[in-house]
């Protein structure tokens, strides 16, 4: 994307804020013109007094007081409007980022580098703010103010002086900034990238601090951080060199410009008074033009930041609502028909040719080795991913013809890796049903054998669980996730290793509650511990992405296949355990 394209797109995005932006620009220009005029009037007053006209002292003083006052006022308006635009835009940009990334989840977000995403949504967007708040107004001012003051110089004093000044202004405002823009763009892109890497590294380093300590990984972690830091530093140094070069050139041009006005004025035979005024105006005119250099360095970062934002937000969501969604199915059966699916970049498919049906209201179990594709079945049922071939149906309707919200309303899941938000127990539960009453919360927690535990906590349901539920035990986290799914009260309930970290007593207790509750609902249980699945209506056995057997516990035992072998092993274990 070129700089012009980026600018246009950013301007387009900022359209709702054109009015305050225009106010800010207008007042900036006015304020700067007044700044120049202040010197002009001052110089004018001095030369008049020098020409022997002391009567101007009072009017000049009065004019200057008024102008100074107006300048302050205009600056206030400029700043306030500018800040308004800036803060509003930051909020708009972040909101837009979230809204665009939300439909991409989970396929486009799960397992990706959220620390880097965080850097984008916080820091890169902060950079973009520079474009609106510190670029538009200054760059317009850098054009308008010199045009005005050159006109004044040309018309009121000497066209030749105006003409010789112009190249200096162009040099400062256009040539010097342009000289280095390519190198600056590369450095800015590198810098933004390094910042993102650092953010990712810190995120991992904080969330994995236990592992860092446990494995004596700290020193190496610090070394890695420093290496990432120095790639940032190298980009900063490059930017610094460019800034230094531009500043030097610019200041030289300013000095040379002033000297040139002076000498040209003299060569043109201007009166000393006119020379004084033209020098004062010329000198002051460089102010707004120098503004270009000031925003240049940051502007390149704004562009790089914008690219990094759009890199994410422009990705199309993997799944979208169908154009004309079918009505919500009346029944809650699940059907997989020759479903084949591979995760992107993975050559062996996670599922190949899987077909089965779970009739509404029945209780099915899925067993199989780790990595055989059990959790993937759930992801496809929820249409988190799109299968490469085959169809997944709910209530007879292919999931890609249902509205996404409808589909996900139909299914309650306790995932294998539960995620809890850094919020209270109650808030985590209410994710499933925002308007649930306290009684409803307590009811589901009783069913998940969690209520008593929560009541023992000093703040009960208002206990904050910490990031990812850090302040709970593993089993408590799982039970909270179960309670949350129960609260959703959906016709299909999926439990993916939902009780893997519970002791047998608690597990049995919850099992009993779920059995009660699941009557009339379609239940899909994924488990490694066979005890929890033996009484399922049917057991599906997965192996390396294929559905290798299915049947009731007895049928499968009779078949002497994979399931029977698995079961024999467990029974064997238990025999040994029982001594």
């Amino acid at each position: 994307m070129t700089r012009t394209q980026i600018s246009l797109r950013l301007l387009h995005f900022g359209r709702p804020l054109m009015t305050p932006l225009a106010v800010s620009v207008t007042f900036r220009v006015l304020q700067m013109c007044l700044g120049i005029a202040l010197y002009g009037v001052g110089a004018w007053g001095v030369v008049h007094v020098a020409s022997g006209d002391p009567s101007v002292i009072v009017p000049v003083a009065v004019a200057m007081v008024v102008m100074a006052f107006a300048k302050g006022l205009f600056r206030y308006v400029e700043q306030y409007a500018g800040h308004y635009v800036a803060f509003k835009l930051l909020a708009m940009l972040r909101d837009d980022f979230y809204q665009r990334i939300e439909p991409q989840a989970p396929a486009g977000v799960e397992g990706t580098r959220t620390g880097d995403l965080l850097a984008r949504v916080m820091k890169d967007i902060d950079r973009i703010e520079v474009f609106y708040a510190h670029t538009i107004a200054p760059s317009l001012a850098a054009v308008i103010v010199p045009v005005i003051s050159l006109s004044v110089l040309g018309a009121g004093y000497s066209p030749v002086v105006a003409l010789v000044l112009a190249p200096f202004l162009l040099g400062v405002g256009v040539v010097v900034p342009w000289l280095s823009h390519r190198a600056a763009a590369t450095a800015a892109t590198d810098l933004r990238r390094a910042r993102g890497e650092i953010s990712q590294h810190l995120t991992d380093g904080v969330q994995g601090v236990r592992e860092v300590l446990a494995f004596g990984y700290g020193t190496r972690r610090l070394a890695e951080l420093e290496a990432l830091g120095s790639s940032g530093t190298s980009a900063i140094s490059r930017l610094g060199t460019l800034i230094s070069m531009r500043r030097g050139l610019n200041e030289f041009l300013v000095g040379a410009g002033v000297i040139t006005i002076l000498l040209t004025g003299w060569a043109q035979g201007l009166s000393w008074q006119d020379i004084a005024v033209t020098v004062a105006i010329g000198l002051a005119t460089f102010g707004p033009v120098l503004g270009v250099e000031e925003f240049m360095a940051d502007l390149e970062q704004a562009f790089a930041g914008a690219r990094r934002i759009w890199e994410i937000t422009d990705r199309p969501p993997l799944v979208t609502d169908p154009p004309a969604p079918e009505p919500r199915p009346a029944t809650a059966s699940i059907g997989f028909d020759s479903v084949t699916f591979a995760y992107p970049g993975q050559s062996p498919p996670a599922l190949s040719g899987v077909s089965f049906t779970v009739p509404a209201g029945s209780r099915y179990a899925v067993v199989g080795a780790s990595g055989s594709g059990k959790s993937t079945l759930v992801s496809l049922l929820l249409r988190f991913w799109e299968p490469q071939s085959g169809t997944v149906c709910v209530g007879g309707t292919p999931v890609d013809r249902l509205g996404l919200n409808d589909l996900r309303d139909l299914v309650a899941v306790v995932g294998q890796r539960t995620f809890l938000f850094n919020d209270t127990v109650a808030a985590n539960l209410r994710l499933a049903r925002p308007d649930a009453t306290q009684e409803q919360l307590e009811a589901v927690c009783r069913q998940a054998a969690l209520h008593d535990t929560i009541m023992e906590m000093p703040e009960g349901y208002d206990t904050v669980v910490g990031e990812m539920g850090e302040r709970l035990s593993g089993g408590q986290r799982q039970r909270l996730a179960i309670a949350r799914a129960l609260l959703k009260d959906a016709p299909i309930l999926v439990l993916d290793e939902a009780t893997s970290e519970l002791d047998v007593h608690t597990e049995a207790e919850i099992q009993r509650q779920i059995d009660d509750l699941a009557r009339g609902r379609t239940l899909l249980v994924i488990a490694h511990r066979l005890a929890t699945v033996t009484d399922a209506d049917r057991i599906l056995v997965m192996d390396r992405g294929r559905l290798v057997e299915q049947g009731t516990h007895r049928e499968l035992l009779a078949r002497q296949g994979a399931y029977a072998r698995l079961y024999a092993r467990q029974a064997d274990d238990l025999d040994r355990a029982a001594g």
């Binding site: 306030y80 909101d95 916080m122 994995g208 300590l213 140094s237 938000f421 499933a432 274990d573």
Partner: protein, 568 residues
């Protein structure tokens, strides 16, 4: 404040000097312009010497203008790296308790954004602003010497107003900037939480609603800031007006009056007017650097607060013990996360070197807490924990952790490849060792089947692996660490029975001679332990071998019987 800046004090002082010199060069340039105009006024041509001086001053200005950023920008980059290092080092000292107390997004924001703000502030802002606050004095001296002492004296009355107004300005904005930093950190924390939990939000159809809530809270904070700004910017208005009036107008009027009195000539009067640009410089800087200066000061406060935080687990400076045994003992250990809610009560058990002890008990009874105490992630409230005979509070924590390999209950894998994650435990292990460890964790076959093998990315937190694969990676990692004590917290909860059996058998072979503490719910995992310790509600209620415990009717025996009944 001083200590954050210390590493770049040299460059900052240089930048002060550079800014002064630049101001002097500018003053010289403007005085010479005045001289030239004076010469024209007297009807002559500007002298060659004056013209040469003009160019020399212009060149000197340019060189100095280039030199200052060349020094400061680089110094800023250096400061950044150093600060970040200090912050992460400190986070490591704060250690595991950080996880349940702090929000990652906040800490990341301090380690990135705040660090950048502070570096820019100290490196590129502080020097020049300190310099430009004093530049007016230099300029006034120049005016006094070269133009007119009286004008300089009168203008000098205004000079103290500069630091004064800047001070008022700082105080006025400190609240906005502190508030802004706080907001930004809060927002960062919420965004990270939302991004990491986005799948869960989608699962409950709450993605959009959560987005609205985020937008709402950031909108509220925006409004609050705008209100504060509307008030505080009045200061800007006052300062601006006062300066323009005070400096420019006073100087101009003085120029006119003194010229009428004949004290100065026309050229000097013009120079005086031009020199006022130098006098109002500090004001321009203050306005320009509003974000940098105030944001930087607020960020510095934030970083200092972070660095001042005391670790909950104080490390000792003592030497690592020479010889270490691998026995473990808990003697009357009590612990509470929150006051008045004891989690462990007088827990006592020992593990002889090479012994394998299983810790079982209901969910929430404190098993993981025992493991955390052993690793010195937490400090016991009472009692003593010994490793190899040493009270672990009297030896360096790093030494204790070196003795122990852990498979944690909730697996944490780092963003990177399988290889990266394994090398965490043994940075210089060769591939052969990695494959051995994978074999022990029964993961070798899976990895061999991957097109990229060991270089397959695991995704953040291992999310691109299946639950069991991630867990087995953690087992392989612990195996690689090869420590005398092994702590396994539900190591196979997400692993199928077949792999579990294979893993346990492999671990058995591997752990001969090692001390093992195994926390598990699956009784199959526990059966071969030399001894079983039952923890219920923070109390050790039973301990003994499987057979001993089966004779009673305690938690363990009931659990075994229940499993039997269910399976038959």
């Amino acid at each position: 404040m001083e200590s954050l800046m210390r590493p770049i004090r040299g460059p900052v002082l240089l930048s002060v000097l550079g800014t002064w010199l630049q101001a002097l060069a500018t003053t010289a340039l403007l005085l010479l312009v005045g001289t030239a105009i004076g010469q024209i006024h007297r009807g002559g041509a500007p002298e060659t010497a004056v013209i040469a001086g003009l160019f020399a001053a212009a060149a000197a200005r340019a060189l100095l203008a280039a030199a200052v950023p060349a020094i400061t920008v680089r110094a800023g980059g250096r400061l950044e790296v150093g600060l970040r290092d200090r912050i992460y080092r400190h986070l490591l000292r704060l250690g595991a308790p950080l996880r349940s107390r702090e929000q990652t997004g906040r800490l990341v924001s301090t380690g990135t954004e705040a660090v950048e703000l502070v570096s820019t502030y100290y490196a590129t802002f502080l020097g020049p602003i300190l310099a430009s606050m004093t530049v007016p004095i230099l300029v006034l001296v120049a005016i006094g010497v070269f133009v007119d002492p009286w004008t300089a004296l009168i203008l000098a009355i205004v000079v103290p107003a500069i630091p004064l107004t800047v001070g008022v300005f700082q105080r006025g904005f400190a609240k906005v900037s502190d508030g802004y930093r706080d907001t930004a950190n809060h927002l960062a924390a919420r965004f990270l939480d939302a991004l990491q939990g986005l799948s869960t939000l989608k699962l409950f159809n709450q993605g959009t609603a959560h987005g609205r809530a985020l937008a709402r809270s950031s909108e509220e904070l925006r409004r609050a800031i705008m209100r504060l700004l509307a008030g505080n910017q009045v200061i800007l208005f006052v300062v601006d007006t006062v300066f323009s009036l005070g400096m420019i107008t006073t100087a101009t009027v003085l120029a006119m009056v003194r010229m009428r009195e004949g004290a100065i000539d026309a050229g000097e009067a013009v120079a005086l007017v031009l020199l006022t640009t130098q006098l109002v410089e500090p004001l321009d800087k203050v306005g320009q650097f509003f974000y940098v200066g105030m944001g930087g000061a607020a960020a510095a406060k934030e970083i200092r607060a972070q660095l001042a935080e005391k670790p909950a687990v104080a490390d000792t400076e003592t030497q690592a013990p020479e010889r270490a045994g691998s026995d473990v003992s808990f003697e009357g250990v009590s612990f509470a996360y929150l006051p008045d809610t004891p989690v462990l009560r007088e827990v006592g058990f020992t593990i002889a070197p090479g012994e394998k002890v299983a810790l079982v008990g209901p969910s929430g009874s404190g098993k993981t807490t025992v493991a955390a105490l052993l690793q010195r992630n937490l400090d016991p409230g009472g009692g003593v924990i010994r490793v190899g005979g040493h009270d672990i509070t009297s030896v360096p924590a790093a030494w204790v952790r070196e003795q122990i390999s852990v498979v944690a209950q909730s697996t944490y894998l780092f963003t990177g490849t399988l290889r990266d994650n394994l090398l965490v435990a043994a940075p210089d292990a060769d591939d052969e060792r990695l494959w051995d460890a994978l074999r022990t964790a029964n993961l070798d076959e899976f990895v061999r089947g991957l097109p990229d093998g060991l270089d397959t990315p695991t995704g953040e937190r291992g999310l691109m692996l299946s639950g069991g694969q991630a867990q087995r990676t953690a087992i392989a990692r612990a195996v690689l660490k090869d420590s005398p004590i092994l702590v396994l917290d539900e190591p196979t909860s997400n692993v199928d029975l077949e792999s579990e059996a294979a893993i346990l058998a492999a671990l058995d072979r591997l752990t001969v001679g090692r001390t093992v503490l195994m926390i598990a719910h699956r009784l199959s995992t526990v059966r071969d332990a030399d001894r079983i310790v039952v923890l219920e509600d923070g109390l050790v209620t039973e301990q003994g071998s499987h057979d001993e415990l089966m004779t009673g009717g305690g938690h363990y025996a009931r659990a075994v019987r229940r499993t039997e009944v269910e399976t038959r």
